[in-house]
């Protein structure tokens, strides 16, 4: 699959991460893997991009982080905050409307994928 322009990822990446965290807390490598696996590599992003993105989301209060050193390897878990949930809901609506608009132009064939 051809690489997606990084400008697309810059807009889609944060909302994709928030969406992943909707189901529960995850650590960084887990997010990287999940993004690649669940999007067939479309939203796979280098770690050099992911971690700054997580820091930004944390700075904006959309996610919160905690260190867990109880396992064999220390992990930093990220979870969605209330503000993050509101932001995800708003972004999801925007993406839905965008997909519909693109569909009406014949640019997409899948509808409701973000529902």
């Amino acid at each position: 699959m051809a690489d997606i322009d990084s400008e697309f990822l810059r807009g889609a990446g944060p909302v994709a991460v928030l969406k992943l965290l909707e189901r529960g807390e995850m650590y960084g490598y887990e997010i990287v893997e999940a993004l690649e696996r669940r999007t067939d590599g479309v939203l796979a992003m280098g770690q050099s991009t992911l971690y700054p993105m997580l820091y930004n989301l944390e700075a904006k209060g959309f996610v919160a982080a905690r260190w867990d050193e109880s396992g064999s390897r220390p992990r930093k878990y990220y979870r969605l905050t209330a503000a993050g949930r509101r932001r995800l809901a708003a972004d999801a609506k925007s993406w839905h409307r965008l997909a519909l608009a693109m569909g009406s132009l014949g640019l997409t064939s899948v509808q409701g994928v973000l529902a």
Binding site: G28, Q47, N56, R73, P74
Partner: protein
């Protein structure tokens, strides 16, 4: 921090990648530790999942871009106050850096615009000295010959010791020594008798028109007769070393001490002569002192003026003492000759003149300021010059000194000093204003000077440290010279007083009684009635016999009818207010008149102080 959280247990290439990213973030230590732990955790998970180290490194992406993004994100996580402080710190750092850069550039500018010496102050001083038409018109070789014979040299030898003892003696017939070792009157008479030929040679030297002291050429070997080796060496160094700063201030005036002492020897000889009834000889001595004082004013350094004034004061006070106590020693011709001697001082030598000081000031400026060719420039001394300037605060330039520490200090502080200290034009304007103010007062009377407002240099004299540091050169080089106008005014008045006293004695010789009014003396014995320098009115006289008085109302401006304060001060104390401090304020004057002439038969008032 554990090895796991720092990633130290990871493969070397991964550790190197983490180090590179973390270092490039330039974040605070705690933030870097957090980033390091997160990346270490990430790679540990990747390896645990079976990814090879090389693949994990390749999948990471651009480390530099990651570091930049991490830095921006980490900073975004900081609190608003924290970010504001950071911003302020960065702005301050940039500002300080910019100022430092400008400072360094200004320092480089100063380094490439060092002062340029454009004139030789010694040559300029030489231009102002009178030239002798014939070699025999020059007095200095004669002084050099006779002063050692009188024991008036820099050397410490038996002759000098004896002269000091004579000079500290009683100075008047019939008085007893107040201290052990002082010469008695008989000793003084014997000394004058023994040195009669030398004193005659001294008087002859005073009659020559040109002093010719080798100020602008080095002292010669012959001058070693008077001066010590150190003085001769220093003189030669100043004259020969044209690259030496402040040469005008370094020009030595070592003759002043000996010549001033010679005036006291002549005053003593005048007393001895008068006591023998030789009024003509006494007038010769007094006239010689006045002529010598005129010679001393070559060149017109103010210190020369002050010494000349002091010498004339010796002549005047001694003349008045003799006229009051031994008037019978003098003929009308003697007294007329004394009056002519008193009036022989050229007018321009009785008023302040700052030409030599100006040369010295210009010389200092040319060493201490860069010159933009338009009359401006920055205060920009070298380390050596600054040492010399510092020495001027002690009244004499120090020795040039230059070492690495001094040069470093100058390089560091030079730009700041240049920005703070008055620039060349400002300083010269200050000097012009100040000197013009002083010169405008050069003919003022004592009363006018007393009532005058402060001069332009008032802030420098009143301890205003801002003014003193801004006008550093002026503060160091311009002492409170307005006092010199006082000295000149007193000098003029004092010679008026003796002229008047001599006229009164001549009147009594001719008419057998003291004059009733000052105007009675004019024109036969006096050209005109002098003004009282304190009241501005014609000077007063009254009384008969030994009660006759001529007086000025004095510094207290109250007329005590010429009463003499038996316990109190003599003429010198009442010439000026008791003291004027550097800020120009006066202590209350002593409440007494300045008595110009009191033929009471007693000289005690002259020894009262």
């Amino acid at each position: 921090m554990s090895a796991a959280s720092t990633g130290q247990n990871l493969p070397a290439d991964i550790v190197a990648l983490i180090d590179r990213v973390v270092r490039a973030t330039r974040l605070r230590r705690s933030e870097r530790d957090d980033v390091r732990a997160e990346l270490a955790s990430h790679f540990a998970e990747a390896l645990a999942a079976g990814t090879s180290p090389a693949a994990a490194v390749a999948a990471f992406g651009d480390p530099s871009a990651s570091a930049r993004a991490l830095r921006a994100a980490a900073i975004a996580k900081r609190s608003a106050i924290d970010r504001a402080f950071g911003q302020a710190f960065r702005c301050t750092a940039w500002g300080v850096g910019a100022i430092a850069a400008v400072y360094v550039l200004f320092g480089l500018y100063l380094a490439t615009n060092a002062p340029r010496v454009s004139f030789d102050p010694v040559a300029r001083l030489a231009e102002g000295l009178p030239k002798a038409a014939r070699p025999e018109d020059v007095a200095w070789p004669r002084y050099r010959d006779v002063l050692p014979r009188l024991g008036l040299t820099e050397h410490v030898d038996a002759a000098n010791t004896e002269t000091d003892r004579i000079d500290g003696g009683v100075g008047w017939p019939g008085r007893s020594p107040s201290e052990e070792g002082q010469a008695t009157w008989d000793d003084q008479v014997a000394w004058c008798t023994a040195h009669a030929a030398d004193l005659a040679a001294l008087r002859a030297a005073t009659a020559l028109p040109v002093l010719g002291m080798p100020l602008t050429e080095a002292l010669s070997d012959a001058d070693r007769a008077i001066f010590t080796e150190s003085t001769v060496t220093n003189s030669r160094a100043v004259i020969a070393d044209t690259a030496r700063p402040f040469r005008a201030f370094g020009v030595l005036l070592p003759h002043l001490a000996s010549i001033r002492q010679a005036s006291r020897a002549l005053a003593l000889d005048a007393t001895v002569a008068a006591s023998r009834g030789q009024g003509s000889m006494a007038v010769d001595d007094l006239a010689a002192i006045i002529a010598m004082s005129v010679q001393v004013q070559q060149p017109r350094f103010l210190i020369c003026d002050l010494v000349a004034i002091a010498m004339r004061s010796v002549a005047c006070s001694r003349a008045t003492m003799l006229l009051e106590s031994m008037p019978e020693a003098f003929t009308d011709d003697d007294l007329a000759r004394l009056q002519r001697a008193l009036r022989s001082v050229p007018r321009d030598l009785t008023e302040m003149d700052l030409r030599s000081e100006r040369i010295a000031f210009d010389d200092a400026v040319q060493w201490m300021y860069s010159d933009d060719g338009q009359g401006g420039g920055w205060f920009n001394p070298s380390a050596a010059n600054l040492m010399m300037l510092n020495g001027l605060g002690e009244g004499y330039p120090g020795e040039p000194r230059d070492d690495v520490m001094d040069r470093s200090m100058i390089a560091l502080t030079g730009p700041a000093a240049a920005l703070w200290v008055a620039d060349r034009r400002d300083l010269m304007d200050f000097y012009e204003s100040w000197s013009n103010e002083l010169l405008a007062r050069k003919a003022w009377s004592l009363r006018q000077l007393h009532d005058a407002p402060p001069t332009h240099d008032e802030p420098l004299r009143s301890g205003d440290w801002v003014a003193k540091s801004r006008y550093l050169m002026a503060a160091l080089l311009l002492p409170a010279l307005d006092r010199v106008n006082w000295s000149f005014a007193a000098d003029r008045a004092q010679r008026d007083a003796v002229d008047m006293a001599a006229a009164c004695v001549r009147f009594k010789l001719a008419r057998g009684a003291w004059p009733a009014r000052a105007s009675d003396l004019v024109p036969a014995f006096l050209a005109s009635v002098p003004s009282d320098p304190w009241s501005g009115q014609p000077v007063q006289m009254a009384g008969e016999g030994r009660g006759f008085r001529v007086w000025s109302v004095g510094a207290d401006l109250a007329d005590q009818q010429g009463a003499i304060n038996a316990t109190g001060p003599a003429l010198r104390a009442t010439t000026l207010p008791r003291s004027a401090n550097r800020s120009g304020s006066f202590e209350p004057p002593i409440p007494c008149d300045w008595v110009w002439f009191a033929p009471s038969g007693s000289v005690e008032r002259w020894f009262g102080e």
